[in-house]
């Protein structure tokens, strides 16, 4: 048989391999372009105390988790207890970004489900979210001592992700100067 006649089959098999990979892949997940870059600048009032401000400068000098959440977000409810427990057990700094929410609803949500955050920035318009490349809630960023974003979790944090990926990375970053 002519080798040329096998070309379509070979091409097709390559396609099958590609499609098989596609089955394991989420085509809509956008890996963050901010990893390795400085945390985007922002300055927002906090949820609980509107008079107090929080900004990206607060990330300097410590390893911090920046968790994007909202009271209208169902999946946030799933990851929240995990964050609350984690905040209690470890001394990690966790900040929140309350994304396009109503302040009263947000306060009530924190009262009912617990508050693991040192403070939550109140981003009612969503411009800070855009700057951080937030496209779905919940999302969580890990910022190192120099204020560089080192990791982004898209979707809710599970126990598995927390202890397999996030926690070891936090420990590693803590050791950095």
């Amino acid at each position: 048989m002519k080798l040329r006649a096998l070309l379509p089959l070979i091409g097709f098999l390559a396609l099958v391999v590609l499609l098989a990979y596609g089955l394991t892949n989420d085509p809509k997940k956008i890996p963050s372009p901010l990893i390795g870059k400085a945390a985007p600048q922002f300055e927002l009032p906090t949820v609980l105390r509107p008079g107090k401000k929080i900004s990206n400068k607060d990330f300097q000098g410590k390893v911090a988790l920046f968790n994007v959440w909202a009271s209208w977000c169902g999946a946030c409810r799933d990851e929240h207890p995990i964050l609350v427990k984690y905040a209690r057990q470890h001394k990690t700094t966790i900040y929140g970004l309350n994304y396009k929410d109503q302040r009263s609803e947000a306060i009530r949500w924190l009262k009912v489900f617990g508050n693991p955050y040192i403070a939550s920035a109140y981003d009612v318009i969503g411009n800070t979210g855009i700057d951080w490349g937030v496209y779905g809630v919940p999302e969580t960023f890990l910022v190192d001592k120099k204020g560089i974003i080192r990791f982004k979790q898209i979707g809710p944090i599970t126990e598995k992700i927390l202890y397999k990926e996030i926690h070891p990375l936090i420990q590693k970053l803590e050791k950095e100067s």
């Binding site: 372009p33 901010l34 799933d78 969503g126 855009i130 700057d131 951080w132 779905g136």
Partner: protein, 159 residues
């Protein structure tokens, strides 16, 4: 319970995208050039929350925010390039429906033309070969068989 929450959020989000509210934008423009730029830009930027829609077409919250952002930036005097760069810095090339032309997308942009050229060269070579070599004539018996078959059909058709 968790699974349902996840599914519900996804369903809710996707329903907001495609509820055909037609994302009717009321933006005021004093300059028709700016207006045209705006509508062209929002037609080229992808709604990152939705399944596959431009921020012009989608009614999702983020799409609306991004439209507002594009509008604001145009009014601030930013160029199309600057606006696209702004978006790409935050959402990667994924947000551009017109992929950039660079090393990784070379095959995408050049592929079709290259393929066309290869095909035509192949065709030319093939035809030349046919002309120079004697044609492979259809087997005599084979030919007869075909004629018989077709003749049968003709009878049946009462042509």
């Amino acid at each position: 319970m968790k699974q349902i929450h996840k599914i519900l959020t996804v369903i809710l989000l996707s329903l907001t995208c495609l509820n055909s509210l037609a994302a009717i934008n009321i933006y005021q423009f004093d300059d028709p050039v700016k207006k045209e730029r705006f509508y062209k830009l929002i037609d080229e930027l992808r709604c990152t929350v939705c399944q596959n829609q431009t921020i012009a077409a989608s009614n999702a919250g983020l799409a609306k925010d991004l439209r507002n952002k594009v509008y604001t930036m145009i009014q601030q005097g930013k160029t199309d390039e600057e606006i696209k760069t702004f978006m790409v810095e935050r959402f990667t090339d994924f947000i551009l429906y017109k992929p950039p032309v660079n090393n990784t997308t070379f095959l995408l942009w050049a592929g079709p033309v290259i393929l066309m050229c290869i095909a035509f060269i192949f065709l030319l070579v093939n035809i030349r070969k046919r002309i120079s070599n004697p044609a492979v004539e259809v087997d005599e018996l084979e030919h007869e068989r075909i004629q018989t078959l077709l003749a049968h059909e003709k009878e049946n058709n009462n042509d």
